[in-house]
Symmetry: C2
Subunit: 343 residues, 2 copies
């Protein structure tokens, strides 16, 4: 039997309304009664029942977060960013690490419509936001993270995959490499697609023809990087550099090259994307594109909760800068570990 507002009211000789007012500071209450009530509250260790409150206020102070299967650093940094920003606004977060399962997403959406959360942060790189879009009551608080949001009907935040890849490949070309292979992510993946586009754009800028046999399919796993590299090593004319659409695949490719005694970057230069922690510990250290994951999380919360601060009412898209981190694997001298900021 937990102590409720009624018991507090009785012991303090006031009505429950007054107790409520004291607790919320919502209306004028005598200093004396205020103290009396607070004393009882402390004495009974009373805590307002969040559910009862939520039922009438229609506010749970809970945010839903739906994530696909992302690598652990992305996951934890994103959650930390979201959580921190949420806590600042006195929200808690409900996390659902679905595997991009459409049914899971809709289940969560259900939880939301069910009134359990005040807003939703969704990252679904595999599924078009459109599918989700339809089921939504138009007034739903919702923000997409790194997802397709064609139409622009929804709020979204994303990292600048395109420019990150573009600048990285541009950097590789700056080293003098021309035959630059790429191990891509899955075509259905939003990030992967954008990164590939950045790669193509960089080639285009320097008038380098794309060679389809240098465009290898991968799926963001270490294995697929290893396998992709093995394919590349079987080509008659090997590339002089390899850009992997993420670091896991770059690590896999590196392992393959170690096995085949290929010298990196001497024979083939290497660059990745994500700047995961391992990137700085492998030998040679891995040049990569740094992604502001934590900030992605805070930005999502800001977009969701800080409405009407002069923002346009319709769907907006916020893009966060990425930056090239030069290390050894691209051919930069060992000392060159400074970070090249994005524009």
């Amino acid at each position: 039997m937990t102590v409720g507002i009624k018991e507090v009211a009785r012991k303090a000789n006031v009505s429950i309304a007054t107790v409520s007012r004291v607790l919320n500071g919502s209306a004028s209450v005598t200093q004396e009664t205020k103290e009396r009530v607070m004393a009882i509250v402390g004495e009974l260790n009373y805590m307002p029942h969040a559910i009862g409150r939520a039922l009438v206020t229609h506010k749970t102070n809970l945010l839903g977060v739906i994530l696909p299967d992302v690598h652990s650093e992305f996951f934890s940094e994103l959650i930390r960013g979201i959580d921190h920003a949420a806590r600042e606004r006195s929200y808690h977060i409900i996390v659902s690490s679905t595997h991009s399962n459409k049914k899971e997403i809709e289940s969560m959406l259900g939880v939301m419509q069910g009134g359990h959360v005040d807003g939703l942060i969704v990252m679904s790189p595999h599924i078009s936001a459109d599918g989700v879009l339809k089921r939504l009551s138009p007034r739903s608080k919702l923000v997409f993270v790194n997802s397709y949001t064609n139409g622009g009907k929804f709020v979204s935040v994303a990292i600048d995959n395109f420019n990150g890849a573009y600048r990285m490949v541009d950097h590789l070309i700056g080293h003098g490499y021309e035959k630059i292979a790429i191990i891509k992510g899955e075509e259905s993946n939003f990030d992967a697609q954008e990164r590939f586009n950045g790669y193509l754009q960089a080639l285009k800028k320097h008038r380098i023809r794309r060679i389809s046999e240098l465009e290898i399919n991968g799926n963001f796993t270490e294995e697929s990087g290893y396998d992709g590299m093995m394919k590349i090593l079987k080509l008659k004319t090997k590339p002089t550099a390899l850009f992997c659409a993420n670091d896991s695949m770059a690590l896999g490719a590196l392992r393959a090259m170690h096995e085949k005694d290929i010298i990196v970057p001497g024979e083939i230069a290497l660059a990745g994307f994500d700047d995961i922690p391992s990137a700085q510990y492998v030998l040679p250290s891995l040049t990569s594109v740094h992604v502001p994951i934590y900030e992605l999380g805070t930005a999502a919360v800001e977009s969701l909760l800080d409405e009407g601060k002069g923002d346009a009412p319709g769907g907006r898209k916020k893009i966060l800068n990425t930056s090239v981190v030069k290390r050894e694997s691209c051919g930069c001298p060992p000392g060159t570990r400074e970070r090249v900021k994005g524009i």
Copy 2:
């Protein structure tokens, strides 16, 4: 204006009680009415309001998870484990990645007492569970993960830090090393303490005297590993092996040794704890103690939710096995990558 049970009831020409019964399958309803109601439910896309329901059932199907600042893989794997086990039981999880801040924990505890969550999973390696213990209503559903739980009044799950460290150091001694240094975690940290105890126990078993200058303080960060190693390298008599209480510090130590051109494991062998992903990619690959993080999460949920399955009612403690993963850094031949399972 969202559609509620009343509207469904009206359109289906039944009372709200019947609609409720159909939705919950709680009592006998004619097949015919059942279908009629479900048709309307589908038509209106009605979803029960979770808050209203929770108010009367006293069940939110939400679990609170309070975590300190742990490394990203631990965080994400633990959450995945918890989330997966929770979803199987149709629970969602509220995550709070506090920084072991006592106030934060109590705030979360408040949310719980406030009725928002049905149970709580707490990991607080720095704070004695006792502090938290007092504020708790005795019937609170609560499980501790890798925390001090002296008294044993509460349910807890933990990994076998002691035996993991013990077996690892035993393995190092098996290689012939006798002067084995350790870089410890903070004394206030539960895991760190247990690991240190395992180290001591292994020395004791082999009648090796502890040498206090070989017991270096660290704090689980890469930097502290680096700094610790630098201290070790200044000793007159260097150790032949180093055991770090976690992999991050081992990576830091490795970096220091690379800088000073110390050959690993030739001059100094190295072993870590946690088996983080980087461990297998560094050169030499890092021998480490594997920790079943995902399982730790699922075990926590099981302990919390699967009560009365013949378990003792009082505080139980479940301990999950750890296992030594032999790689190159301890002196095992490069091919030896099989995993040594715990007892």
